[in-house]
Symmetry: none
Subunit: 241 residues, 2 copies
């Protein structure tokens, strides 16, 4: 719990800012939940839970990083195992008034599980095959992208008849396409993977480019995504009044 | 609080996801409690207490597992001793408006106590007799199943005249029959018990199949069951408005 963060340890810096910004975001979403109409309250609570769960795991990751100087891969995946499904639930909740069925949620969750299990194997279990497992993981991500851009979810949103939802949904899925792309880019910098050349000289125990990418991506995709849900809820509340 | 979770320690992984998802679920139930009518608030609070108690014990169990690599049987039963009776109280609260009497609660509690005391003896005191104690424990579970499928509880639910309760009650008891069945299946994998052959080669200090079964079962039966109670409360609230 102390401050043995060295000057110039940029990755450690982002673990600290990560954990505190996630905690602040959770408080923000929980407290602002009181200002939106009832049907948006659950969505804001889920946003808060995503950042809260992340905050706790960033606290752990910060500790692992400071003590060992290695990537806290276990905690990274424990965190994603909980937060990615909650994001799928956010999609479901936003589209439920427009008629979303359980099947849509199941498809999003199935894609997430494939993405995360394959990613974990590639990062933690058989790193020598991380290219192959990265490709398999990407298939899981593609299942999600298909669902929200071309599948049932996209049709439901388009026909929801609620401007706040239609506009907000477009921003949400843009996060899932562009914001989430930062994760595989980070992964490709792992030793043995296709972008490793870019960071060849980097000392991974001091400056892990993979963790830097993941930390930036998490801030965008957890706090940023939550703010999008928040602004959909605020706009819809204003429109109803 | 440290990070000595090894890559590939799947059981450790589920202790971590268990403790954090239980905590997140508690926050969810407590906060969403504000959105249901008064008579449902107590039920949601009990759901929150069940997952909160579990969260604390998962935190301990995670520590025992990381430090010793053995099953945290003591904490497991400490947790169940508190959470199983709370689940019996959930049944009682749901059926109270339909006229549930104290006798029903007493029968459910008696079944729970028999189930847990016998299970503890079989797991922790005389493991060489775990088959016999497992059978005795199952009698306790059968008492509960009888009460909710054929006994007074089932009649009260059927005659409650409240659709949300009738439908929700069926889902609740299905959890108690099918979801709870995962526990004895895990127990039967203990050395000397009838399903141990399935996991013969497993190194119990790295991959305890019993703990894996219990952890999966707890997630389903504590968080899942709480969500069923939550959706009964939400549906009933909507119907009343
Ligand atoms: C595609 C792909 C990956 C994608 C990871 C993603 C997209 C993670 C998203 C996490 C989020 C959004 C957490 C938020 O709370 C991996 C596993 C790095 C492995 C390489 C291929
Ligand atoms: C039948 C049986 C068992 C049943 C255990 C159960 C059903 C535990 C339920 C715990 C719950 C639901 C906790 C939730 O909060 C034991 C003790 C493994 C011993 C073997 C026979």
């Amino acid at each position: 719990l102390n401050g043995n963060l060295q000057a110039g340890d940029y990755i450690g810096f982002t673990f600290f800012t990560g954990y505190m910004s996630m905690l602040a975001a959770s408080i923000f979403f929980i407290v602002e939940r009181g200002t939106v109409t009832d049907k948006w309250k659950t969505s804001l609570l889920i946003s808060a839970l995503i950042t809260f769960i992340a905050s706790v795991h960033y606290f752990y990751m910060r500790g692992v990083w400071l003590e060992t100087g290695t990537s806290p891969t276990q905690f990274r995946y424990i965190d994603w195992t909980l937060t990615v499904p909650l994001m799928c639930i956010e999609y479901f909740l936003i589209l439920k008034p427009a008629g979303a069925k359980g099947g849509m949620l199941v498809r999003l969750l199935a894609g997430s599980i494939l993405m995360l299990v394959a990613g974990y194997i590639g990062e933690a279990i058989t790193p020598e095959n991380n290219v192959m497992w990265g490709i398999i993981s990407t298939i899981g991500w593609a299942v999600i992208i298909y669902e929200i851009y071309l599948g049932e979810a996209s049709k439901l949103a388009a026909n929801s008849g609620n401007t706040a939802v239609i506009e907000g949904y477009k921003v949400m899925r843009w996060f899932t396409l562009v914001g989430w792309a930062i994760y595989p880019i980070g992964y490709c910098m792992l030793p043995g993977n296709i972008l490793h050349g870019l960071v060849e000289g980097a000392d991974f125990t001091k400056n892990s480019p993979v963790d830097l990418a993941y930390n930036i991506a998490d801030a965008i995709n957890k706090i940023g995504f939550g703010l999008v849900v928040y602004s959909i809820a605020k706009n819809a509340t204003a429109a109803e009044q």
